[in-house]
Symmetry: C2
Subunit: 174 residues, 2 copies
DNA sequence: TATTTTTGTAAGTGATTACTCACTTTTATG
DNA sequence: CATAAAAGTGAGTAATCACTTACAAAAATA
């Protein structure tokens, strides 16, 4: 793990737990055991550090969503989307907490990947003959956010809730 | 409007738009056209100002939820809960944005009123003979959060989505 | 009216902020 | 091996931070 990577991971950790504005570059440098100047050599400024942290996380997010975008069975698409939050490993929780915080704070919040997912979901509901596929897709997004909140914020077990949501769409199956 | 009230409203405005940590007491004082010292005379410190801002907002929130807690018809309880976000006037949007931001940042986030609502919803689903009333109540909470996000963050019109959710529970009525 | 209390201000305080700069060490390259 | 580029440091910088203090104006109270 290079010093650049250590800075990134410590920045993620502190940004997620205390917030971007409440975290100083000195704090990050101290905890990462590097000089404060190195942060600015690698990331130009604090905002650049945040963007770098987000970028590596977005790549992770894309890895979750991409397989769903390649699916053809509409039921599988919907089920996979609902189950997304349950497949996030604990070591990534901090990143997602950061992302959900920034969602309410920053205009440049990256949501391209999620938009693609929603389009895929809309198409899935359309092919299943749902009345208003766009609204149904939006509902799934709400479910995902709700499940993510349950996991990340309350630290709860989402399996029961996930099952409940799944049965709303696949009553007579399984 | 007293100077104390002007400080409170400007603090709410800035906390909601830029975030608590990114907003300085000097900024608040300047925009409120008062001396910075007056903030500390009235609210002791910055944290006290935030708590005062939250307190006056929580009282508003309780006013929304209290009528539902007094209802007896389970269907009316559920419907009223789902419709809650649509009844928030535009002038209160900033406060709710602040509350949703703090939800992800601060441990002392006040959620008593929402807990009461969820208990009421659980009882409502129970009396209607639902299989897992607690999970159903949790789902309603997720719907509320989702609708609030749609309104506050994306500035969208939530009526279509609200109707969609309502029909999930009251298919053969209206 | 005299006095106390509340409200308000201006000018500070030391600490901390993001960031820079001169410089050394390490790594890569011709 | 020589040289240049990259990585890394430590001691700075001006600006800003939350907050204090001494004091004046206004309001309330006696």
């Amino acid at each position: 793990m290079s010093k650049k990577e250590i800075i990134l991971s410590k920045a993620l950790e502190l940004f997620a737990s205390r917030g971007y504005d409440a975290t100083s570059t000195r704090q990050i440098a101290t905890e990462a055991h590097v000089s404060e100047g190195l942060i600015f050599r690698h990331f130009h400024n604090k905002e650049g550090l945040l963007e770098a942290v987000l970028l590596q996380g977005i790549n992770k997010a894309t890895q979750y969503i991409e397989p769903i975008l390649e699916m053809t069975d509409p039921r599988q698409i919907i089920e996979s989307a609902i189950c997304l939050p349950t497949h996030v490993p604990i070591e990534e929780h901090e990143f997602w907490k950061l992302l959900y915080t920034l969602k309410w704070q920053r205009a440049n919040y990256p949501q391209e990947a999620f938009d693609q997912l929603q389009q895929k979901l809309t198409a899935a509901f359309e092919s299943l003959g749902f009345e208003s596929p766009e609204l149904e897709a939006q509902l799934i997004e709400i479910y995902i956010d709700g499940l993510a909140t349950e996991i990340l914020l309350r630290g709860g077990d989402p399996t029961a809730l996930t099952q409940k949501i799944l049965t709303k769409y696949f009553k007579n199956e399984h």
